[in-house]
Symmetry: D3
């Protein structure tokens, strides 16, 4: 009489996506460092693949959380973007990314920045569809999973879709 | 005995930067809409030119504030990014952008999304340098100027550089 | 019994299109200046959007008038292309462009070059369709509107579609 | 006591440059034909190589003569640009191009359009330098060589650098 | 009662395809030479057009034979890829390419490398279709035609589709 | 009195490099599959990073071994290139790549093809420099390590730098 869809929950590691690539001359600003816009676009590609691996549907970028560019990334660098879904809400997925650069000579990796994008799963007509739940495993994954709820409330407050006083998780931060 | 640098303050309109361009096939996702990452990169170019017009120095992207993609932008659309510096803080500038798409047949413009990026002015060696103050003129410019302080506090709190309890502007929001 | 299509005439300002963008390393020649071909392509995008804004139809490039590159445009420049329809003829539109570069340090804008492209409005099958008339307003718009007729005659003469002796406007030039 | 530079004259065939390439999806407009701007850019690359082969110096685009796009070039076409220097004047060279497309199934080549670009030879500092003379050989080369003088006068008249009454070659056209 | 398809044989020169183009900054590695990958992509485009000219069908890359990069190709070089079908086998075609670079100042051409790609002709559904035979004419074409059979055997052996002992042409090489 | 440089040997896993990325419309041929040339270029970037991670020097592409394209890769696919150094010889490194595509709906990965590139390590002047040895660990790595010697001999024979009769490893293959 009715259809039951069982969606198996997944783990963050199931969506791990890695893009390692060079910084080319056409991707740098006048002082020889990677353009912020170029990194934002690479991260969007990595995050969209991670989201797609989580839900196996078409995904579209819904929002970009605060991204800080803490470290300049010089021409010729090898940049690695590692993306994993950190939390799923109905039809949306938060994807957390770590961006690394490595020194060619000594091989040391250092964190360039972190970023968080949100994607929505849609069908061929562009209508939103439900996505599987996610179960974090490592300590870092659990921490990011918990913080995702605060970020979501912040996002809703900023968009005027939630009253600040109802943003329980967020409110606690300022008490 | 000492050098006095007088920096004339500027108005938001002095930095107005417009990029109007088409959405090409290589910039679209499987359901025929513009990739979020491509729009993020275009906005970075528009915002960097606006910041450069405000301070007349080399500028680098420092951060991207929360960006929501509310509207799908189909292949062949004409997209207009309008960027203006909304507030200046020492060596950094907040740039506020409005993104519009227009219907080819009836010519109506509709708002696709808003975005806020922050840039830092640097010298040839990459050291930060001071930028002129800004004086908002219109009602919208004044509102964005005021909100910029709250966003800055939020940014400092998220980066762990300010205690939530010291974020006066932000705290007021939750009371 | 029959359909009357009233096409409201338009003004040049209705089609004003601005593309402001940087000159990137991949767009420069061996002595570090912007390739002519890259500027020709940017101007084609700006002019096609202006023509489309005038007629709200699909438009295709019909011809490029004489373009002189008077000024070298160095790497890192901010280049602004401003395009406006200058005259409409049946299904074609002449688009006049002014190209500006600006000095980063003192903010002065200088004219890099002018260019004129012609576009034709077509339907989905590629058949030409009529476009609205245009009514110039400013002194510069009126001057460009008048000169457009001479350019059109020159174009027809060069294409062998008009006898030089019939090119009244053009002939007057050489008397 | 003084230096004599003997520059051997050359023939148009010495500068023949051929670019045969596909039309890719990212290079087409909404009705599936190649963008005019993309063809203008390809022609600029072909013409610049032809000019460089004639003079063996750095060359920069000085102007683009009238270009008519007579034929639509659909996605997936094989486009061949053939460029040859048609005439040399002091430090400038006129390059004449024929653009061909070919039918995949029957292999027939048809002329898509012709174009004429002018290049200037410069040294490493951007100063103009003299180029070798050119001696046309075939009937078509001779015809293009002669017409080049008329085009140059037209160009000087349009730029306001020659009075129409002094443009002897051009004037004859209207008598 | 049955259909006879007569496919006229062709000569290598019928498929000659030339791409002459510049090496741009975005195509170079950290020591200022053209990326191997960029040259591989240009050769694929040239070879695919040559194969298509031979068979007048849709063609897809089937394999790349051993390619050696013997000579560095510096930024700003003029690179010429010359491609010709060297042999046809049922539905596949071997394309042989010579890559030349030329010195800007003295105009000397030197061989940068050779490469061999194999293409397969397919119909709109992706099914393989037969291609015309080829008849080599010059001494070099005949030599490449003969060697193509050895390369094909090597390719089949490496793919595990032919026992080394059956590769008659190849075996002779080691005796 | 003299300098001893100890180069620690490395393992294949130390150079593992992963590029996961989408196939965009501008990267596809007329029947909607990824161009061979585009995949060759992506593999070159992945392999060059793997080689660089092994030796921590500048690396340049020396050759591409036989590459077979067994499987068509449709528009919108997620393609993963995994590259690892398989063997080191003096200043050169063989890099072995596995290319995977995955089905969006069921998440199954399938092998699209394998490829082998060789890179040479150079200093800033382009002179070759020695690279660390490699010690294979897994069964697959050992098998690839052994086969690399045969491929090297084949490469030398094809380049005319080794007599077929001296290619001991290779000769054994045909006995």
């Amino acid at each position: 009489m009715y259809k039951i869809i069982v969606m198996n929950s997944k783990h963050p590691k199931d969506s791990l996506t890695i893009i390692t690539d060079l910084v080319l001359p056409s991707e740098t600003n006048p002082i020889g460092n990677m353009f912020g816009g170029e990194l934002l676009a690479r991260m969007d590609r990595a995050a969209s693949i991670a989201a797609r691996r989580h839900c196996r549907r078409i995904v579209v970028t819904a929002s970009v959380n605060h991204v800080a560019f803490n470290k300049m990334i010089p021409l010729g660098s090898v940049v690695t973007v590692e993306a994993k879904v950190s939390r799923a809400f109905n039809s949306s997925m938060e994807v957390f990314m770590d961006v690394w650069i490595e020194d060619r000579e000594n091989g040391m990796r250092s964190k360039a920045n972190e970023a968080i994008y949100t994607f929505v799963a849609v069908d061929e007509m562009g209508q939103t569809v439900q996505v599987p739940e996610i179960i974090p495993e490592t300590a870092v994954e659990k921490e990011r999973y918990d913080a995702a709820l605060r970020r979501r409330q912040l996002s809703l407050v900023l968009a005027g879709k939630m009253a600040p006083k109802d943003a329980s998780e967020l409110k606690a931060l300022f008490e």
